[in-house]
């Protein structure tokens, strides 16, 4: 029940995403009166939910790496801060996206809880904020050229072209909604994934919804409600702000937007590129507003920038910088209030210590640990302090630092029958065989997560990570984090 209350801020965020970002998909079509609002809203809602449930996982994994919000009240604030920032910016008339806001809000949480921000992931996300509009501009330009040539060659009459454009807009809009759901659901529900109490459910034994998918389904519904209730006005005004668009330009713009969002959310494409030894596109939640703005500017450049209202573009650009900052501040301040005034636990402190077990593991990896006397045996209250101490050591490479960090993370657990009972066993999720493996460990205590991982891996190969099987590994990690959650000492 409490979880549902905390989830409400995520739903608020979903609603504002629906009201705001969804209008990017159909805004130009509805604004130019090519598609009726009702058609657009229904089509958009349905495909957002489908996209969120079927392929929402890719981008949310990246967001999870940025910062793992580990207490439900914290997740509540993070989503809340992001939602308020988006709402504020919308009121001011800037097309911002939940992507920028949520990243800012998570960083705010990281600062507050003393967790480390994974700068590699952060830079990956920020780079896509530049790459996404640029890519979108190029795609829009190319598509527009192709469309223009096709129309010149095929010479459809005005009314046929009109109806083809309408069908095109609806089709591309549906695809865009699907991609938006797949890519942006991570923003709405991503922070709740680590704290979700849902277990996997199987529907008539035909298909299975993982706990994440259930969460995404609820989020998708919230977005759909946003679309149906509040997007009408935004849809009518979007697209006119930067430059006036003809229906054909609108088609090119929306197609480019949809393709870009799809590229940054598709696990299938990633697997394909990986399989052929090609560089992959990072699966990152990108901003649909950035994609749209990029595409519109791309078409504007086709006319040498004439007709673009650069002042509007400048305003939008700076709002993209301001939004994450506002969200971070808002998140930090709200967390402070919630923690100190309402005495809610906004994060679970994660302590670090190089115990003798951790030391053995680190040494087995061949990492030189000279001058570690200063930190071994000492306990650090959070990742930040530990990282600071670790930084004083010499000759340690960044990836070695990461290894030491995971090795030293303390998460005391005990395998008792009582706690095992609380794990959701289900033939599709954690099978009978896996359950038996866990029972074999009864009575064992662990200080670090990796100790449990290793103990399980020793019992059966099913608990081992596999090379080049990203999906399997991610699934296994999900199961393990569910198990940690249940076996953890309650006061932790």
């Amino acid at each position: 029940m409490m979880f549902l209350f905390f989830l409400s801020s995520g739903l608020f965020l979903g609603w504002s995403l629906g009201a705001n970002d969804a209008s990017n998909v159909f805004g130009t079509a509805v604004g130019s009166k090519m598609v009726r609002f009702r058609t657009a809203a229904i089509c958009c809602s349905v495909f957002i939910v489908i996209g969120a449930v079927i392929s929402g996982a890719g981008a949310s994994y990246t967001l999870g790496k940025l910062g793992s919000v580990n207490a439900v009240a914290g997740a509540f604030i993070v989503a809340f801060a992001a939602a308020v920032s988006v709402y504020l910016m919308t009121k001011l008339g800037y097309p911002v996206s939940t992507s920028q806001a949520i990243v800012g809000a998570i960083i705010g949480w990281n600062f507050f809880s003393g967790s480390l921000t994974d700068y590699q992931t952060l830079s990956k996300i920020v780079i896509t904020w530049v790459a996404c509009p640029a890519l979108s501009a190029i795609i829009a330009l190319v598509l527009y050229k192709i469309l223009a040539i096709a129309i010149y060659r095929l010479k459809p009459d005005m009314f046929r072209l009109d109806s083809l454009t309408r069908y095109g807009l609806i089709l591309v809009g549906a695809f865009g909604s699907y991609s938006l759901g797949a890519n942006n659901i991570a923003n709405v529900m991503g922070v709740f994934v680590p704290v979700s109490p849902f277990a996997d459910i199987s529907i008539f034994g035909i298909f299975k919804l993982t706990s994440t998918q259930q969460l995404f389904f609820i989020g998708g519904i919230a977005i759909a409600v946003g679309v149906l209730t509040y997007s009408r006005k935004v849809m009518a005004t979007v697209g006119e702000g930067i430059m006036e668009l003809s229906p054909i330009s609108a088609l090119a713009v929306v197609s480019a937007h949809s393709l870009v969002l799809f590229l940054f959310a598709s696990q299938g494409l990633e697997a394909f590129l990986q399989g052929h030894g090609l560089p992959t596109i990072p699966l990152v939640p990108v901003s649909s507003s950035q994609a749209i703005v990029g595409a519109v500017i791309g078409l504007g450049l086709l006319r040498h920038g004439k007709g673009i209202r650069w002042r509007v573009v400048g305003g939008i650009g700076s709002s993209w910088i301001v939004t994450p900052i506002i969200a971070a501040l808002l998140s930090f301040i709200s967390l402070f209030f919630l923690q100190n005034v309402f005495e809610q636990k906004t994060y679970r402190p994660v302590r670090y210590a190089i115990t003798s077990e951790a030391m053995a593991r680190i040494q087995a990896q061949g990492i030189p640990l000279q001058g570690t006397e200063s930190i071994t045996g000492k306990e650090f209250p959070n990742a930040k302090y530990f990282y600071r101490a670790l930084s004083t050591l010499k000759n340690i490479k960044p990836e070695e630092q990461a290894f030491i960090l995971t090795s030293a993370e303390i998460d005391p657990m005990e395998v008792t029958l009582e706690r095992l009972e609380t794990i959701d066993f289900d033939s599709d999720w954690i099978s009978e065989r896996k359950k038996n493996d866990l029972i074999k460990l009864e009575g064992r205590k662990f200080i670090h997560k990796w100790q449990l991982d290793e103990a399980l891996a020793e019992i059966s190969p099913y608990w081992r990570l596999r090379e080049n099987e990203k999906k399997y590994n991610e699934n296994l990690k999900n199961k393990l984090s569910h198990i940690y959650e249940k076996l953890r000492y309650p006061n932790q």
């Binding site: 130019s32 009166k33 090519m34 009726r36 527009y144 469309l147 223009a148 129309i151 010149y152 010479k155 009459d157 005005m158 009314f159 046929r160 009109d162 109806s163 003809s246 229906p247 054909i248």
Partner: protein, 216 residues
């Protein structure tokens, strides 16, 4: 349901074609009507009058239907204003043909044989000007890039029409034995017919801009 709408949209294209046929037909009726009047074939002339009235009725009905369809089905939103204006203007040309023929019927002016050839030439040129704008309009709906092949002919015919109208008026006013009222009446006819070509040119100027707006 969607496919019904698609079919309906294609019907709209056909309806425009039929409407433009009516404008073109009105031109031909006008030309043959004037020819019949000049050769004193009054029966045939009166028949042409009946025909052109019918054509004008059909044109009006089509225009109203098209205007309604464009709005009700929110077709071609980006060019709807332009298309409606084009429709009105083409209908005005049709009306002018009918009006000019009616004028002959009402006033029955005395046209002496010396003026016949010039009158024939004038009506022929005016009808050509309208034909050119009809062809340009068809191209506007079907193939934007070929509008240029037809539209340049409109100003050409218009200037030809101006030349022959001036010549005709000069001849009229230098006629001996015509009263001033007769001269003024004939001049009025010439100007009335010449005006059709002027209007066709105005329409072509606007059409040029519609084309620019739609070109990719």
């Amino acid at each position: 349901m969607e496919f019904r709408i698609l079919k309906k949209r294609l019907d709209v294209g056909r309806e425009f074609d039929v409407f433009l046929d009516k404008v073109s037909e009105a031109g031909l009726l006008f030309k043959t009507g004037v020819e019949a009047y000049l050769s004193d074939n009054i029966d045939s002339f009166e028949k042409k009058i009946e025909d052109i009235i019918e054509t004008e009725h059909d044109g009006d009905a089509l225009r109203r239907d098209l205007e309604e369809t464009l709005y009700v089905q929110t077709l071609i939103p980006e060019s709807r204003g332009d298309v409606l204006e084009l429709l009105e203007n083409m209908d005005a040309l049709l009306d002018r043909f009918k009006g000019a023929l009616w004028k002959f019927n009402i006033e029955r002016p005395q046209v002496i044989k010396e003026l016949n050839d010039d009158f024939r030439e004038l009506t022929g040129i005016v009808v050509e000007a309208v034909e050119a704008i009809v062809r340009s309009s068809r191209a506007f709906f079907k193939d934007l890039s070929s509008v240029a092949d037809h539209i340049h002919k409109v100003p050409y015919w218009e200037s030809q029409s101006d030349k022959i109208a001036s010549k005709l008026q000069q001849t009229i006013f230098r006629q001996e034995g015509f009263s001033l009222s007769e001269k003024l009446q004939l001049r009025d006819f010439v100007k009335h017919i010449d005006k059709i070509a002027d209007r066709a040119e105005d329409v072509s100027d606007k059409l040029r801009i519609y084309v620019l707006k739609r070109s990719l």
